[in-house]
């Protein structure tokens, strides 16, 4: 195996080579049950409690296709502008591995359910890049192994391993791009932007949790370099284990630089899988492809072919929600955003959240303000993405509603939001628990107003004399006395009324 001695400066890579990218994304569908059996498709259950003879690969058990998973596959294909096969089959991909109960994966081979589409991806500068989609096909996930006796649960050096098959048979859609040949220096960015756009699309369709951290969205990045002036693709490597959007970009960039350094020395690129290390930002050699298994694909005899009627396909097309790019265009128009503002919202991952908050009843400007200002700050503090904050757009809209009704001041509203973020329930629950609601009933306020007027006779006199701006001091005193829970607008009205100014 070739040692990675050096990597090349990125600019120099680009002077000598054109990168070719291929991205394979595996998406776990969020169906109620698994792909071929009625076991619950559930993340995080107790080990081996979501299993049956089918997903344990027991002798005699037979698969039956989950119709909803097929619908999701077709809908995903339609959203990716793909053709839908008139007729296709499942195939068996044969190889032995202990996390795979049958020692073959039921997948699709040369007859994918959808093929030949594209996804338009918006890059950081607002430019749109079209990524061709080769195909998307249905398959099943494997079980999960944990390793005992080695360092930190790693497979290497482990004494033995333990298997949990809850995940075995969970429906997967594998989406494969066409070779991306014209991204040039932006190849790493295109890779990240593509997977991000795909995530947004799948999330808006509601077909998957699309959580990279939980493995419901996984990306393998194939990278090769073509010497400038040549048209032949170089040998590619496939980097796995890339667990975040940023890592995709880093992994592609690293592989480009590593390939270039090797090619420059006249060395050969070894066709292999590589593993990305989040901490070092480097890849390391995995399994060599040249000695890879011969998968001996053949049509799955236990499942009959799928022949989606054109009526069915059109009916499914009708169920597609507004696509993220359509939503972006509509948001820009309706919210009157500049290109730049729109891009910032998209990059911050705020657009969908704002739109959903607007859908839940908030005004665009208020929704924007909450997500872009306060919540973005909170997300940064937590070191996570906006979308993974534990508050829903509906909850944000509720907080905005309460403010508009005068039931919360802005200060209180922030306390309520913090309570929700701390996992203490929805806005109304936090308000009830902490008694945060604004005091606006006149009888309790009136007493405080009278008290403040009595305590500041000078100010009271000025107001009575028509200097209404002097009311501020009285209002301030009332707010202080009520620890900020009073409705300031109402207090002011009461003060003015008490002094005969209304």
């Amino acid at each position: 195996m070739t040692a990675v001695a050096e990597i090349m400066d990125y600019d120099e890579v680009l002077r000598n080579f054109d990168p070719v990218l291929g991205l394979e994304v595996h998406v776990e569908l969020s169906t109620a049950t698994k792909m071929f059996c009625g076991c619950a498709n559930e993340f995080g259950a107790e080990p081996n409690t979501r299993v049956c003879p089918v997903c344990l690969g027991m002798p005699g058990a037979l698969p039956v296709v989950n119709g909803t998973a097929v619908e999701s596959a077709i809908r995903i294909g339609l959203a990716l502008n793909c053709q839908v096969a008139e007729w296709c089959r499942f195939a068996r991909k044969n190889y032995f591995y202990p996390d795979m109960p049958k020692n073959f994966q039921t997948s699709q081979y040369d007859e994918p359910i959808v093929f030949d589409g594209h996804l338009d991806v918006v890059l950081d500068d607002g430019e749109t890049f079209r990524v061709g989609i080769e195909r998307a096909h249905m398959e099943e996930d494997t079980g999960k192994s944990s390793h005992v006796g080695g360092a930190a649960g790693r497979i290497h050096g482990a004494e033995h391993s333990l298997l949990d098959y809850n995940r075995a048979g969970v429906p997967l859609i594998e989406i494969v791009t066409k070779p991306i040949t014209d991204a040039g220096e932006r190849a790493p960015e295109v890779a990240r932007a593509y997977v991000t756009a795909l995530r947004d699309l799948l999330r808006s369709m509601g077909v998957s949790d699309v959580r990279m951290d939980q493995g419901s969205l996984r990306c393998d990045a194939n990278v090769s370099l073509t010497p400038k002036g040549s048209t032949r693709f170089g040998t590619r490597t496939e980097t796995k284990n890339v667990n975040s959007f940023r890592s995709i970009e880093r992994a592609v960039r690293f592989e480009m630089r590593r390939h270039a350094a090797l090619l420059n020395e006249g060395a050969e690129i070894v066709q292999e899988t590589r593993h990305f290390d989040e901490s070092s930002g480097e890849t390391s050699s995995g399994r060599r492809k040249e000695e890879a298994e011969d998968y001996r694909y053949f049509p799955e005899p236990d499942l009959v072919p799928i022949a989606p009627s054109r009526d069915w396909v059109e009916q499914l097309r009708g169920t597609l929600p507004e696509m993220p790019w359509e939503r972006r265009r509509r948001a820009q128009e309706q919210w009157e955003l500049s290109d730049e503002e729109l891009r910032d919202l998209v990059n911050a991952g705020a657009l969908d959240l704002i739109a959903a908050t607007v859908d839940a009843g908030a005004s665009p400007s208020e929704a924007r303000s909450w997500w872009v200002a306060y919540l973005t700050q909170r997300a940064n503090e937590r070191g996570g993405e906006l979308a993974s904050l534990p508050i829903t757009p509906e909850q944000v809209a509720r907080v905005i509603e309460l403010v508009n009704e005068g039931k919360l001041t802005h200060k209180l509203a922030r306390q309520v939001v913090d309570g929700v973020l701390d996992g203490r329930g929805g806005p109304d629950e936090v308000i009830a628990a902490d008694e945060l609601e604004v005091v606006s009933d006149d009888s309790s306020l009136q007493a405080a107003v009278d008290e403040a007027l009595a305590a500041q006779p000078d100010a009271a006199e000025k107001i009575r004399g028509g200097k209404v701006q002097a009311a501020g001091a009285i209002v301030g005193a009332v707010m202080k006395a009520t620890q900020g829970q009073a409705d300031a607008k109402r207090v002011r009205e009461l003060v003015l009324a008490a002094c005969g100014q209304q």
Binding site: P53, L56, G57, M58, P59, G60, A61, L62, P63, V64, V65, R92, N94, F96, P98, P101, K102, N103, F104, E159, S161, L163, D294, R296, Y297, F298, P301, D302, L303, V304
Partner: protein, 516 residues
């Protein structure tokens, strides 16, 4: 029917075990005998003859008697589960059962008791049929002699030195030895029909998809089909109706009404085949066929003619390629189906000593757990599917499959059923073909086309071969979903055959020595 008497040096069936399933069912329904008595009689018979025959791998007398008592109770309460309630049956050990091990005749699954019931077992239980035990078979249903069982061969009751056919030799031998009046088999290339032929019993491979495969441990998924076995056509028909029908757990199961096979058998027994067009497959005769087998077959064809059938010769030119296609498709699918036996989740594990890694433990286990024939087929299938060979082997075999289906389709434009000998020869001697796989494979020459095309097919005894006195089978083939034609023609033939010979064939099954 008369029962054979027990002599001092031999043992015939008792009064009860000598009866057919339909006769037993009638007696149980009439209250003349209880299901428990019937079951006890068969368990006694099993105990007496098993040392000679070895048809069973497990006998579960306790469970069987309990099931029989339940059937008696139900009948007493006026709610018999089915016409066959209380009638005993022998189940091939390839179906999962929660109350008995399922070994498939393999060391690999020696102690495995499944946590779920196959659909077939479940339907039998629901129908009140009493499962006596699980029958011996070639390991994972690969073979034509039941010599490939890891637990020793089964002996043909007609001649204990000979094989009972395979892979379902245990089921057919249990019938011929009067250990059970009914049995279930599976037929991938002939494993129901060929054992039926060489033991003088009736075996049916229903239309592919007619009987659920859920819980049937797969050998070759696109060919495997479960079916009924009995000593008479009517018995097979009654059992057929218990096990057949759509099952949502099997995607390849046909969602259509089950053909009326019992009615067809009763109609056929009247002995009138006028209007029935019968095609004799020209290709299944000549070299390699035993003289007595061909004579018996020709006599059977004459009988069909005498019953009013219109008999013509039909050519199926691609049938000669069926064996080749079969020995590519079945091993290919088996190489994949049997990959799950890897020592990780159930079954045998060898070499787990802390030294060997998972891959090595898998290889050591599979080496020790599988017998030679299974390994041979796994390797053959691995080869046929591997890149570079797929098109030449697996791909071509699937095209041949198309050609064979076309042969059937054009034949069935001319005739209602096709007939041929079930096997080229009568039962061969144990050990005779053990080291010659190709010679063994030829036993399924005539039965394989129906598996490749998925149509229905039956073997019904056509008497014995003149040279060796051993049974010969007549194969009847019908289009998919026309299983009822098999029963009509089979029952008509059976009645005429018995009338001509003056006795039922089953009465000529030799008595078994039980002086041990």
């Amino acid at each position: 029917m008369t029962s054979t008497t027990s002599g001092p040096e031999g043992s015939g069936p008792t009064e009860l075990t000598g009866l057919t399933a339909s006769e037993l069912a009638a007696k149980i329904t009439a209250g003349e005998v209880s299901a428990e008595e019937v079951t006890r009689a068969h368990l006694d018979r099993i105990e007496a003859v098993e040392p000679d025959v070895h048809a069973f791998l497990h006998v579960n007398g306790q469970e069987a008697l309990e099931a029989a008592r339940r059937a008696d109770e139900d009948r007493a309460n006026g709610r018999a589960a089915s016409p066959l309630a209380g009638v005993p049956l022998a189940l091939k050990d390839v179906f999962t059962t929660t109350d008995m091990p399922t070994t498939c005749g393999s060391r690999m699954l020696e102690d495995w008791t499944p946590p779920y019931d196959s659909t077939v077992a479940g339907r039998l239980r629901e129908a009140g049929v009493v499962i006596l035990g699980k029958t011996n078979m070639d390991e994972f249903a690969m073979g034509s002699s039941t010599e490939n069982s890891a637990f020793g061969p089964t002996h043909n009751p007609w001649d204990l030195e000979r094989v009972p056919g395979g892979s379902g030799g245990g089921s057919s031998a249990a019938l011929a030895a009067f250990e059970a009046p009914l049995a279930i088999g599976t037929d991938t290339g002939g494993s129901i029909r060929q054992p039926a032929a060489v033991t003088g019993t009736v075996g049916v491979k229903p239309t592919y998809g007619g009987v659920s495969r859920y819980g049937l441990v797969a050998f070759s998924s696109s060919l495997d089909q479960a079916g009924p076995c009995g000593r008479t056509v009517l018995d097979a028909a009654m059992l057929h109706e218990v096990i057949a029908g759509h099952d949502r757990m099997d995607s390849t199961s046909i969602d259509a009404p089950v053909p009326q096979v019992t009615a067809a058998a009763r109609e056929g027994a009247a002995g009138d085949l006028r209007g029935m067009r019968v095609g004799v497959v020209r290709e299944f005769a000549g070299e390699g066929y035993q003289r007595g087998v061909l004579d018996s077959f020709n006599a059977a064809v004459d009988t069909l003619t005498s019953l009013g059938a219109e008999v013509v010769e039909v050519s199926c030119p691609h049938f000669e390629y069926a064996l080749g296609a079969y020995y590519l498709i079945a091993p290919s699918e088996c190489s994949s189906n049997l990959a799950r036996f890897d020592a990780m989740r159930y079954g045998l594990r060898v070499g787990d000593d802390g030294e060997h890694n998972t891959e090595e433990v898998m290889s050591l286990t599979r080496e020790q757990g599988f017998g030679a024939e299974v390994k041979r087929r796994i390797m053959l299938g691995t080869y046929a599917l591997s890149s570079g060979y797929y098109d030449a082997y697996y791909g071509q075999a699937q095209k041949v499959r198309t050609l064979i289906s076309r042969d059937f389709a054009s034949a069935f434009e001319q005739v209602d059923v096709l007939v041929s000998p079930t096997t080229p020869t009568t039962a061969f001697r144990i050990g005779e073909r053990a080291d010659d796989p190709m010679a063994m494979y030829l036993a399924d020459l005539c039965t394989i086309p129906s598996n490749l095309a998925g149509n229905a097919s039956m073997s019904v005894p056509s008497g014995v071969s003149a040279e060796d006195g051993l049974p010969v089978g007549l194969q009847i083939m019908a289009p998919a979903m026309a299983d009822d034609r098999l029963y009509r023609v089979g029952a008509a033939y059976e009645t005429a055959r018995d009338a001509a010979s003056g006795s039922s064939l089953v009465d000529r099954i030799p008595q078994l020595e039980v002086a041990r």
